[in-house]
């Protein structure tokens, strides 16, 4: 179910917004609009659908408009044009009173620099959202204590937040958000101010919490690794535009443009790309019972293969046969290839990552078969494609490298 739907959203800062909006809609670039109207276009024609229960990451560099877009969702910043539907209700039309209520019940926000009240204790910071709603002290503190336990801050309730480390402060920030029991958690670069080790730990904990809570989370980050780790889906923004939306694998394997590509190049692809996206689908196969040596040899010649996977009639995978073995078998007058099938083969599932397939390469020089749970053969991953994936270079570059190596 769609939780948040953003349609044709524009956000423009400056005096002549109407004029700037018109120009922007006509497709003029940010720079053109700025020079002719003096207005800054922060978000251009953004459309997104965020599903209930997913972690949706909006990624972009600073100035890409990602944080402003997030603030439009709870109207901390008023969008210039467009719709934002939360539970099918257009919140850009909400009255001030409705808006307060939506902010209290529907959303909670976690900030990069925490935004905590330094003069208050951990407990009263976590209870703050409930305090705003006018919930009695007993009740809100009870709820706050539960949430503090949830984020692992038991025993720190009575400390002032200014006495805590950054990581712990952000736990307080997270707890404050969760104490409201919101439907949607808006996280604005929530872990960016933390050092890498703590950041990693917080990411893991967020994922564990999310397993239990199943909230809708909109997470803003400038870090692609973080986006990939957390995001069920990722939107990439550049100069106020949404360039691509998809799963991390979609983005890594099919970047929409050069901008996304330049991001993706820096990522450790081996950890993300899986067998299913690098495998060669529907390979030529030999059928164990039906194909005799004669047929197998012809199939291999037609396809130019030295090895061929063998399957049973019900499509379950058995192993490989080598061309020379088949020729040998044919000479001996064998009627079937059953004797010569090499069944000592490591197969992988479609969601096995390229990195996890690497060790298999040391065991064999055969392609790696990809099978599903019923052991049906889905495709083959060649050794070359694993190496190509790991280097992150395209075919031409690799050809170039090989050429250079030959020239030496």
């Amino acid at each position: 179910m769609t939780k948040i739907l953003i349609e044709d959203l524009y956000l423009i800062f400056g005096k002549h917004r109407e004029k700037a909006l018109k120009q922007s809609r006509e497709g003029k670039s940010k720079a053109e609009v700025l020079s002719s109207t003096g207005c800054t276009v922060a978000v251009t024609n953004a459309s997104l659908n965020i599903e209930e229960g997913e972690i949706f990451v909006i990624m972009g560099l600073s100035g890409s408009g990602k944080s402003t877009l997030l603030r439009c969702i709870n109207r901390l910043i008023e969008p210039t044009a467009g719709k934002i539907l939360v539970n099918n209700q257009d919140i850009t039309r909400s009255t001030d009173k409705e808006l307060l209520n939506i902010r209290r019940k529907e959303f909670a926000m976690v900030f990069q620099h925490f935004g905590l009240l330094p003069h208050r204790t951990v407990l009263s910071n976590v209870a703050f959202g409930l305090e705003i709603q006018g919930i009695p002290k007993e009740e809100r503190e009870q709820k706050a204590r539960e949430t503090i336990a949830l984020v692992g801050l038991e025993g720190y309730e009575d400390m002032k937040v200014s006495e805590l480390s950054g990581g712990m402060q952000q736990r307080v920030g997270l707890a404050r958000g969760l104490a409201n029991d919101p439907e949607v958690l808006l996280m604005d670069e929530a872990f960016s101010a933390l050092d890498p080790l703590i950041r990693n730990q917080m990411q893991d904990e967020l994922l564990i919490l999310q397993e239990k809570m199943q909230k809708t989370i909109v997470f803003i980050t400038h870090d692609l690794d973080e986006a990939i780790k957390l995001g069920d889906r990722i939107a990439i923004m550049k100069d106020g535009e949404i360039v691509q939306v998809g799963t991390s694998e979609d983005i890594l394997t099919a970047p929409a443009d050069d901008y996304v590509k330049s991001f993706v190049e820096k990522v450790e692809r081996g950890k993300i790309v899986t067998a299913s996206s690098v495998m060669f689908e529907k390979p030529t196969v030999a059928r164990l019972k039906k194909d005799g040596p004669e047929v197998v040899i012809r199939k291999m010649r037609d396809a130019g293969l030295k090895t061929i996977p063998v399957i049973r009639t019900n499509r379950t995978f058995i192993g490989f046969v080598q061309l020379e073995d088949v020729i040998e078998a044919k000479k001996k007058g064998a009627k079937s290839i059953e004797e010569i099938v090499n069944t000592e083969v490591h197969s992988v599932y479609p969601d096995t990552t390229v990195e996890d397939m690497l060790p298999i390469l040391t065991e064999t020089d055969l392609p790696i078969p990809v099978v599903n749970e019923e052991n049906f053969l889905l495709g083959l991953v060649s050794q070359t494609s694993i190496i190509v994936e790991m280097t992150g270079k395209d075919k031409e570059e690799i050809q170039g490298i090989i050429q250079n190596a030959i020239d030496l």
Binding site: R71, N74, L76, L100, N101, I102, R103, R104, K105, F107, A108, M109, F111, Q112, H113, F114, G115, L116, L117, P118, H119, F128, G129, E131, I132, Q133, R176, N180, L186
Partner: protein, 271 residues
């Protein structure tokens, strides 16, 4: 030549003529208020007052300041200016209370509204730079001679710092905290009372401290139009060329200033 003076004179005359009822009302209210405060401190036995003040200083500002307060007040008593000191203290206290009652809301308003800020700032500049003696004239025209016009001039002179520092304190509340508060659905009133004012408190208290100091510095000037207290002693010393007396009065003002400064400086800090 532009005869600005004439216009101002006309304006002040017009005010006195048309708003005499209002000024009489203010005069009546302030007379009672200041009179009450003054009567209370003069009535209170000196040892109780000294014990209270020294206790407060000891509690909030530490042992050193506690002793300083104790010795300072005993010294003033020993010089024989206790009643005048209490009159001055009452004037400073009530002027400060009124200046804060006006100044803090003005400061909050100017922090939250650009327009208010644009109007209030030049007025504050004017109030602060205009020589304090000048306020005495309209004060006398509005309220006659006595303690009330003294308090009026004192309030005008002493109010700017608390307005400015309140405004500054609220503006300096980090944007992300304000944003977080709004994101949780706080009304503008909740934002002010639960977040902005508490976080601006150190700055507001610095303003309170400054206002008290400014009020004390008006003591002698206010006594020129009949405000009672230590100012009278200094003034007498000047007019009768009695150096010793003038210095005694001055010394009492300085001691009172130091004591009030130490106590108010530490009020906002947690121990």
């Amino acid at each position: 030549m532009i005869d600005v003076g004439t216009y101002i004179e006309h304006f002040i005359n017009w005010l006195t003529a048309n708003f005499s009822g209002f000024f009489d009302g203010v005069n009546y209210g302030m007379t009672n208020f200041i009179g009450g405060v003054e009567a209370f401190w003069v009535w209170m036995p000196f040892y109780v007052t000294i014990a209270l003040m020294a206790g407060l200083a000891f509690w909030r500002a530490g042992i050193g300041n506690g002793f300083l307060t104790l010795l300072g007040l005993l010294f003033i008593y020993a010089m024989g200016y206790w009643d005048q000191t209490m009159q001055t203290f009452a004037l400073v206290l009530s002027s400060t209370v009124l200046a804060l009652a006006l100044g803090i809301p003005l400061g909050i308003w100017s922090a939250r509204s650009q327009t208010a800020n644009r109007i209030i700032r030049p007025i504050l500049d004017f109030m602060q730079t205009m020589p304090a003696f000048v306020y005495l004239i309209p004060a006398v025209l509005f309220f006659g001679l006595g303690t009330v016009p003294g308090a009026f001039a004192t309030i005008i002179f002493a109010m700017p710092p608390v307005v400015r520092l309140t405004s500054l304190g609220i503006q300096q509340v980090p944007e992300d905290i304000v944003e977080a508060t709004k994101a949780f659905g706080a009304t503008s009133r909740q934002l002010l009372l639960k977040v902005q004012v508490p976080l601006a408190m150190p700055s507001i208290l610095a303003g309170v401290n400054q206002t008290i100091m400014m009020a004390l510095s008006m003591v002698v000037i206010a006594s020129m139009i009949g405000a009672k207290g230590l100012g009278e002693i200094v003034l007498q010393g000047i007019s009768q060329l009695r150096i010793g007396m003038g210095f005694e009065g001055g010394l009492a003002v300085v001691l009172l200033a130091i004591i009030l400064d130490r106590i108010t400086q530490h009020l906002g800090k947690s121990k």
